[in-house]
Symmetry: C2
Subunit: 124 residues, 2 copies
DNA sequence: TCTTGACATAGAGTTTACTCTACATTGTAT
DNA sequence: ATACAATGTAGAGTAAACTCTATGTCAAGA
């Protein structure tokens, strides 16, 4: 299937402006129809979902841009792309551990609040 | 102990400019000495570490600002502060789950790359 | 006394990632 | 034939969170 930018925007939950911005930054390169309108494919859809994943895990646009460039170069860059992803996997793992630590501390704080509230309600 | 802004900057790993910005935004209110220089206490240190935790878990400055305001109002706001933290705990938990999902997908992708690299190296 | 170096304020500038505006074209329904 | 909604480009504007610049003050060592 092929989609117009409006359809693709709904499918991906990304604004039309954002899609054009991503194209401008070289993240995605949809085809064009005879009237110069963008034509997005299902492959573009899978790719944009992957981009969203990279973004959601904190990869900056610049780096996704680099990955996209390698991707466009095809098979010869397979290894380099895998290395990028394994490196990113590592930072992601650290992110998760860090957040778990933060959550533990937050829980401590919440417990402390519970006790304080209890104490101040008794103390009347 | 009391610290100058320079010392406090080193202790917290936050730039001097950032500390002044945080003060400007009402996140922290250090004392002043006789020459109008900022004087940070150990309590300020604990507080800034907590601010960093909130930031690292994605809480925007505006919301930390609100929390700081309640904190300055003391005991009567204990409950409201606890509610903010429990709500934040929930979003943090969702964040972690989401990142774990992303990591699983990333691992799938990396496995796929491994196979592709293997395939293309055989195919000569 | 003179010179630093750390600190003070106010406000301008930067970075990232969008998001919007202005204006021109084009495909489709009336 | 005409209106209108979707799309096109180029470039300006926005929001968040810093980060830096200009200019001034002040305590302490040479």
């Amino acid at each position: 299937m092929e989609y117009s930018i409006g359809e693709f925007s709904r499918l991906t939950d990304l604004g039309i402006h954002t899609l054009r911005y991503y194209e401008h930054e070289g993240l995605i390169t949809p085809g064009r129809n005879s009237s110069n309108r963008r034509s997005y494919s299902d492959k573009d859809l899978a790719w944009i979902e992957f981009i969203k994943r990279l973004k959601d895990t904190g990869m900056p646009i610049k780096e996704i841009q680099h990955y996209a460039k390698l991707r466009a170069e095809g098979d010869p860059t397979l290894r380099e792309r895998m290395e990028m992803l394994t490196a990113h996997r590592e930072t992601l793992n650290e992110q998760i551990i860090q957040l778990q630590e933060h959550m533990a501390k937050l829980d401590d704080k919440i417990d402390f609040y519970r006790q304080e509230i209890d104490r101040t309600s008794k103390n009347n």
